[in-house]
Symmetry: C2
Subunit: 658 residues, 2 copies
């Protein structure tokens, strides 16, 4: 431990750098780049530990809080202060900045940002290039060039990744993932400080959702067990109304809880994206800095109303986004919808089970391919859009891709319900989906990463064995924790790895489940109970996956569950409509109820218009770009002012002390 300024704070080894092993033993006296790297990292103020693994070498990095503080000052990190405002971090004013709930100065997300800055900030500060040697070959490290970037392009440094903190990991494993006594309790604050805001928020949401589910689950169970006799037909609509009100209240209370969590975690979210969304992007280690509108203004310049630049640019980007959204929606409606309907139709008509099986196999193959292609297209489309932050970019992707999955998951069920009015078989399909797919998914979620890890480990060991067949068997096991961690798969999304991490899949699973139980609540009230039980295990399984099976994910600083909240809201509105259709099917089993085509058309127009009304409020932003730019500029000015004030206060105090 390093002691300075009365602080005794130091991180554990939280970041690892993977360096390829040299194949040839070099006997010359030229400096190896591993040595250079280690000494440079030490010079940057990091605490370094080298580990010579089986197939690769590793450098483990820890940092005294002073180094992190220096990096944060250079990064101009904004942090909440006791003044009540987010200010740029200054190491000499450290006492003014609010500490995390666990007592540390920086959150994990900020720490990782600082580590990243320190590691990639190592440049050749001499005037002349330095010659480095690797595998017998020499290359030049030019003046002003980043060492890490150079080594990455040469393929020498394979990856910079966050390491697990063994003590905290074990504590979480014991108290969270493997805590089978109290199902509903989660150490959310600890999860937040270990994994960052986004994952902390996910588990808080999952936990609250699971708790709230107990209510409709109990109701649904009663509906299933008790025979209401002639009241049965009245019980269903009551259950339907109850679930809708329940869901609306749940989301509203979640927003409250979210606001509370952010305040507890010292994250100010009201102050626009500029303070919140500063995310480190994926494993590749590149930073997406938020693109601020205010940047387009030179200092002292004031945005004017009706500034043509602002106006036209704002509308251009909005139109681009609108065009892309239309493309995605058209793609889903024109390509996916007929395909899904065709599958559902032929499946009904297929005589033998073998045909059905074959049909399903073909369907799964095509839909898999289609989903992947569409995901790729969506990612490409989004790259041409213009967003204020990585998080809003990710949100846009989420909307687009969710459309796809929405069609895929529900259209077959609808077809079934409306075409055949066969509630019993619909119920069967729902049970299949709920049990089979959720259990199956949970298994896959954990087993596939584990198998991947095992294979990688086997390969690494095998490769080593081939090279040095002489050495004893015993040494041919992985002994270093850091090497094991490197071989573990990373937490990534099945779609658009660049923009989202594994949370996408977890949230998608949750949203599809929510849609399933809500949209068909009249057909199958028991679904809530299934979902509740499933989510209880889901919490533990997701926790286990993150703690034991995967690399520690790169922290993301999003303040809310983002796009998913809107998706949940949309699913509630949808479920009002679908349950009404289901009720019609239930009450009118013989299909006696007729509806005039004119009336049907008017009803469809009505629902479309109601939908459009609420789409419109998202289409046209409430605040023109120049107003926003003005506001951001004002906030920045006020922050500067406060920083000055802080500095003068501290210098005054120092003078007084002297």
């Amino acid at each position: 431990m390093v002691e300075m300024n009365g602080h005794m704070e130091q991180t554990g080894f939280e970041v690892g750098v993977v360096v390829s092993k040299e194949n040839t033993e070099d006997e010359t006296n030229a400096i190896s780049c591993m040595q250079v790297l280690v000494s440079e990292l030490e010079k940057a103020g990091l605490i370094v530990e080298s580990v010579y693994g089986m197939s690769d070498d590793f450098i483990k990095l820890a940092a005294p809080v002073e180094s992190l503080g220096r990096a944060a000052t250079e990064l101009k990190l904004k942090k909440p202060t006791y003044v009540g405002m987010d200010l740029q971090f200054e190491w000499d004013q450290v006492a003014a900045f609010v500490r995390q709930p666990d007592g540390s100065l920086f959150s994990w997300c900020e720490r990782f940002q600082c580590f990243h800055h320190l590691v990639y900030g190592i440049v050749n500060r001499t005037q002349s290039p330095i010659t480095l040697r690797y595998d017998g070959k020499a290359f030049e490290w030019k003046s002003g060039e980043s060492l890490l970037k150079k080594l990455e392009t040469k393929g020498i440094v394979k990856r910079v990744f966050p390491l697990h903190d063994e003590a905290k990991r074990k504590w979480l494993l014991r108290n969270w993932a493997l805590n089978w006594l109290d199902f509903s309790w989660q150490p959310i604050d600890e999860v937040y400080s270990y994994y960052g805001t986004k994952i902390g928020t996910y588990f808080a949401f999952l936990g609250m959702y699971t708790k709230w589910l107990s209510c409709p689950a109990a109701f649904g169970l009663t509906m299933h067990l008790v025979d209401f006799g002639s009241w049965q037909l009245l019980a269903l609509p009551i259950f339907f109304i109850f679930t809708i009100l329940w869901a609306a209240l749940f989301l509203q209370f979640w927003k409250r809880k979210n606001a509370g969590l952010l305040t507890r975690w010292q994250i100010s979210y009201s102050g626009e994206s500029e303070t919140v969304y500063k995310a480190v992007d994926t494993d590749r280690g590149s930073f997406f800095q938020p693109h601020e509108d205010a940047k387009q203004l030179r200092p002292g310049e004031k945005p004017k109303e009706g500034d043509k630049n602002f106006q036209s640019e704002e509308w251009f980007w909005r139109l681009m986004r609108f065009r892309n959204d239309v493309m995605v929606v058209m793609g889903i409606i024109c390509l996916q919808l007929p395909f899904e309907l065709a599958y559902a139709h032929y499946y009904e008509f297929a005589g033998s089970d073998i045909t059905k099986f074959g049909l399903t196999a073909i369907y799964l193959l095509i839909i898999q391919y289609y989903t992947r292609v569409c995901g790729k297209i969506s990612v490409k489309l989004i790259k041409h859009e213009h967003y204020k932050s990585v998080e809003s970019r990710a949100d846009s992707l989420v909307y687009k891709v969710f459309g796809l999955y929405f069609m895929q998951s529900y259209i077959g069920l609808f077809y079934h319900a409306i075409q055949y009015r066969n509630i019993a078989s619909l119920r069967q399909v729902l049970i299949q989906r709920l049990i089979v797919s959720q259990v199956f998914e949970n298994l896959l979620e954990n087993s596939i990463p584990y198998l991947k890890y095992s294979y990688k480990k086997y390969k690494a060991v095998h490769k080593k064995k081939g090279e040095s067949a002489v050495s004893t068997r015993k040494s041919l096991q992985l002994v270093f924790r850091v090497e094991k961690e490197y071989l573990k798969p990373s937490y990534c999304a099945s779609v658009g790895e660049e923009l989202e991490d594994g949370l996408f899949d977890d949230f998608l699973e949750l949203a599809l489940q929510f849609g399933l139980i809500m949209m068909f609540s009249c057909a199958f009230p028991l679904a809530f109970a299934f979902a509740g039980v499933n989510n209880l295990t889901e919490i533990r399984i997701d926790a286990l996956k993150l703690l034991a099976i995967l690399k520690r994910p790169i922290p993301r600083a999003a303040a809310s569950i983002g796009a998913w909240l809107n998706i949940f809201q949309f699913l509630i509105v949808m479920s009002i409509c679908t349950n009404c259709i289901l009720l019609v099917c239930l009450y009118d089993e013989e299909g006696k109820w007729t509806i005039e085509p004119g009336l049907a058309a008017i009803l469809i127009v009505e629902h479309l218009l109601l939908l459009l009304k609420f789409v419109f409020s998202h289409l046209v932003p409430e605040e023109p770009a120049w107003v926003r730019a003005n506001r951001v500029k004002n906030a920045a000015q006020a922050r500067d002012m406060c920083s000055k004030q802080l500095r003068s206060l501290y210098s005054m105090e120092k003078r007084r002390d002297e």
Copy 2:
């Protein structure tokens, strides 16, 4: 003009104080209270001009900017600065505060607040009571007592009211109210600086609404004039869809425009109620200071999550409000609805025109009474609620009272449309309503205040004549502008004078018109053209009313059109549903279309749930009270910090200058 600090700024005579004339000519040497008042007002830094009117005496007040600045400092007025933050006004840092678009330091609303503070801030600063004399009777002005309050309770000072600025008034009259050349143009910035934010916003909204109306008006006119033949039945739904999209876009663009206006007027609205809502209440001159949650915290205390006080108080007030809303809604549904339906029903069945006329007379009598009683009840209910500001209190009243008028205006029309499916007669009623009521209302709006004014003038002159029958006829006309202004009626609402001013009636008229044209757009597309023409005159008539016929209203500092925006949104959603019903009636003239009662019930449940879903998001606040309190406290701290910084900057500069 008074010159100080290089500023040559001074207001015109903007505030008038009305003092009762003494009946007996007093010959003793004791000081009269009029003299005391004048000298005290002069001591307070105001520029005073006494006017001896016919039935009352008047004191006209102007203020050099320095006096206003001093008052603003004492009031701790928050004003936007060039630093980018709203700070407490300090007279010695005047250069740091952003000026109004017209170059003055204070807006009219701020000026009036300062005047008010100066006038009511006159207290007896001596240790002993001062004896004043009025009408031969003496009374004591106690130490520390406000002179104006004392005189008001004694009935000597009748009123403190804002005066018109003759030059500006004439300019506005010429360029705005009587500018018949360019119908669509309004000098919004000048209106804002003369009347304050709320009235400025109203006219901006009215202007934009009128301009946007031209589009559906043209479409509606085409629909009316061109015979589409067999396409006629298709044209209506297209027109319907068009109007809905038009209305949704209009409101969205209005929000943008509103944000733009506020930025131009240097009003920061994002920073919660505390900066924006500082309204001076009605003519009585009492101030409603915003009740802030943060007040409940002692300095240094931090609100804790789950603080039971915060939690229970928040929910208690919310429940109270909910109970009140439920009471109002139940009152409307259980009392008004049957009554309206009964009237509509009997009106149809009434044989002769005389019966109809009698029925309408009784109806109007009862409904007038009912509305007034309900308005009073609403005002009473709201007094038991707990709001952050006068504006949100007024909004709550607006919602409650609008419910009343909504039922009153539309339920008869609905009954007509649905029961008799007689579109032609519905159209007739709509024309009647649009033309007769709007023309009638416009006439009333201007003539009633004018008649009131004339009557008051006559009475004042007559009284004088009775007293001094000897004096010549010529002197028996009102010669002083200030006396004429005092006799003019004030701009007040027909309901709840304490909470709203005349804008309530103007907005109500606008909202009812919007509802009428939107909700029945399929039955009568021409209505948009009528409304457009009406609004063009409405702008001028409202302007004329404010400029020529009424007292200058007390400025209100609301940042938006408040509750009315939500009411317009609600009307759009309603109009989607009503137009669908109208379309059904139109296409199904013979009533052949049947609908199963089960299906009808399900459709009603669906619509109710969709409504409830969106009511819920207003019912449960997104932010718990403790989070909000925390935020407000933080903002206040940051502001203090910035103020200190500003002061130190200025003192440094001063030192440098020395």
